[in-house]
């Protein structure tokens, strides 16, 4: 057994689940409620020193019985040892887990990508919004297994939405807030900025009313 897994077991007990070896790599399941504690321990404890976060991703299986998993790929630059940590998310509809941005800044974009592609909400993430798809993308989460390869909307609907896109939506509300110092934004936009809204396309019908 991987020495780090044994150390994790003695430190965290039941929060550490099964460990497997596949193709020479060890991966260990941990309690999703304690991912932050466990990863911090792995990063900061002398003798473990997993100080390099290689990757954060998620896996959804074709087997509908299996739940979504978040995967952390760790590496110790000091000891040259990799370790993969997985957390199974119980909630199928709104999967949630603590963000690890406090531990590694690189988790920022990686978690945003997982959110974008799988719909996993990372609690405590400083800036959780879509990254590869645009902010107003409404078709869902592309890498989920129930998402069809060609997208949820029909081609004509996708084209219609693209043609009707409001140029205002190209900027996030946060960015428009920078320009607000010029006081040349439309009143309704400033109003929505004050309410802390971001990046919603205005409904054309509502405007005409």
């Amino acid at each position: 057994m991987h020495p780090s897994v044994a150390a994790l077991r003695s430190q965290f007990g039941d929060a550490v689940g099964q460990a497997h070896v596949s193709c020479g790599d060890t991966y260990v399941y941990v309690d999703p409620a304690k991912n932050l504690d466990i990863l911090r321990w792995l990063k900061e404890t002398a003798g473990q020193d997993y100080n390099y976060l290689v990757d954060v991703t998620a896996v959804e299986y074709r087997d509908v019985e299996r739940l979504l998993e978040v995967v952390y790929e760790l590496f110790s630059l000091k000891r040259n040892v990799p370790l993969r940590v997985k957390a199974v998310l119980e909630d199928r509809v709104n999967p949630e887990i603590d963000s690890i941005v406090p531990l590694w800044r690189s988790a920022d974009w990686l978690e945003r990508e997982v959110y974008d592609m799988f719909g996993v909400t990372f609690r405590g993430h400083p800036d959780l919004r879509r990254i590869l798809m645009w902010e107003t993308y409404a078709e869902g989460y592309p890498l989920r297994k129930d998402f069809p390869l060609r997208g949820r909307f029909s081609r004509s609907e996708q084209v219609r939405q693209a043609l009707n896109a409001n140029p205002e939506a190209h900027y996030s509300m946060e960015e428009l807030a920078i320009a607000e110092t010029n006081y040349d934004l439309p009143l309704d936009m400033r109003d929505r900025l004050r309410r802390g809204e971001r990046g919603t396309v205005p409904d054309p019908e509502e405007k005409s009313r």
């Binding site: 596949s22 790599d25 290689v54 990757d55 993969r84 920022d108 592609m117």
Partner: protein, 426 residues
């Protein structure tokens, strides 16, 4: 490897006690003159997605205080093609064509990474000749990728000549690539268990000739840029990242090594027998744009050295493993031999099933640690194909690198990250 002895007599304010002009290192330690008070008004500037200095379809929304960058908000995804999703609908060998289109400046190292990841998953050991040829493919990719980087970064900073020199040399590798794979850009070189094609006649001689003459071009670029006052002024002390910051942001490749962390997958987790090659890992100390330039320049030399060693040891023999379940039979056999035809049919129609399991494999790509993570449920198509994109992760550090620098420095920093949007967006 520091070459920080360059001091230029530009911007001199006076003479010292001996009557010599006082020399000031360009860009470093020079205090900017007092800026007029603009009342704290910040400006929003949009750069890209179609802008030559953003190296592809990267869009940067920049908050400026005068000419100083306060905040950078990168927008990516303009080239998002859903490769990871597409991969879940394809056989392992069919994914090769997708990998070409990710890091299209170094397609062959992407191909090799895919084959090695799938082979790790299926527990396949390739032939000796195949291993050496894959090393050649990887190092050729590194050279062309770094040459594009060097040329375009030179243009971004204002040096036009290196661009022409670099692209001339790159063209020679592209010709070799074309002779080998039939394509200049979309090589699709590897297959699970081997390669699509062996090298053609005359390839070795041409590559040896390239290895012989190429270092001269590197030396010329080195002579032109490394001690150049303008180049040093634009790059030294710009976009500095300490080792701790670089690890915190999970940077990899030349960026990480320029910050002083000697992590290279070729040395630390060797694959393709890289431990038997004699080469060195250049490591910087300041972590700025200049050190990234030096690291990449030295990597070009080391790659040439590896290419020569690989050519020296290139053994004869087959390039594909003999397993008929994995390797396609030769066309003549498939057309004349019943059994070969059945294997051909089964492989094309049903793919190569991988055992249940998962494998993460990474190699040292030109941009950094390129990793492929496969999860298999026992069928011939992966459940999940995850790409660990080095350019994406390196780009995430751009806002932190740019804060407090001038807008023009941001262009140099962005260039030094060496992004390729096909890989960032996938």
């Amino acid at each position: 490897m520091s070459k920080r002895t360059v001091e230029v007599a530009l911007g001199t304010t006076g003479v010292d006690a001996h009557g010599n002009p006082v020399t000031v290192p360009l860009g470093v330690g020079v205090d900017a003159p007092e800026e007029p008070d603009l009342g704290g008004e910040h400006m929003l500037i949009n750069i890209g997605p179609q802008h030559p200095a953003t190296h592809g379809v990267l869009r940067l929304v920049v908050e400026l205080d005068g000419e100083v960058v306060v905040r950078v908000i990168p927008h990516i995804g303009y080239l998002h093609s859903g490769f990871e999703k597409l991969g879940e609908y394809r056989y392992y060998n069919q994914i090769v064509t997708l990998t070409d289109r990710m890091d299209y400046l170094a397609p062959m190292s992407n191909n090799v990474c895919l084959a090695l990841a799938a082979e790790k998953l299926m527990d396949i050991e390739t032939t000796e000749r195949c291993k050496v040829l894959r090393v050649i493919a990887c190092e050729m990719s590194r050279i062309i990728s770094h040459l594009v980087w060097l040329g375009t970064t030179g243009i971004d900073i204002g040096a036009f000549t290196p661009f022409l020199w670099c692209f001339q040399e790159r063209e020679r590798i592209y010709n070799l690539q074309e002779a080998w794979t039939g394509a200049r850009l979309t090589t699709s070189l590897t297959r699970v268990g081997g390669l699509m094609a062996d090298i053609p006649d005359g390839f070795e001689t041409d590559l040896r000739e390239f290895c012989r003459t190429f270092p001269k071009t590197i030396d010329e670029v080195d002579k032109l840029l490394s001690n150049n006052g303008i180049w040093c002024g634009r790059t030294q002390g710009v976009g500095t990242f300490t080792a701790d910051e670089a690890v915190d942001y999970s940077l990899s490749g030349p960026l990480l090594r320029a910050s002083g962390v000697p992590y290279d997958v070729r040395k630390d987790r060797p694959y393709l027998d890289y431990e038997t090659y004699d080469f060195e890992i250049p490591v910087g100390e300041h972590g700025d744009v200049y050190d990234r330039y030096l690291v990449r320049l030295e990597e070009l030399r080391q790659s040439t050295k590896i290419l020569e060693q690989a050519l020296d040891r290139l053994p004869d023999g087959p390039i594909n493993i003999a397993d008929p379940h994995v390797t396609l039979p030769p066309k003549s056999a498939a057309m004349s031999d019943m059994e070969a035809m059945i294997f051909h049919f089964k492989q094309v129609m049903e793919g190569i099933p991988a055992p249940v399991g998962e494998a993460y494999f990474s190699l040292e790509g030109p941009k950094g640690e390129l990793g492929y993570y496969f999860v298999s449920d026992g069928t011939a198509k992966p459940v999940r194909w995850r790409v660990r994109p080095p350019a994406f992760i390196n780009l995430a550090a751009l806002p932190a690198m740019c804060e407090g620098h001038l807008l023009s420095d941001m262009i140099a920093i962005n260039a030094s990250i060496d992004i390729v949007m096909g890989e960032v967006d996938r």
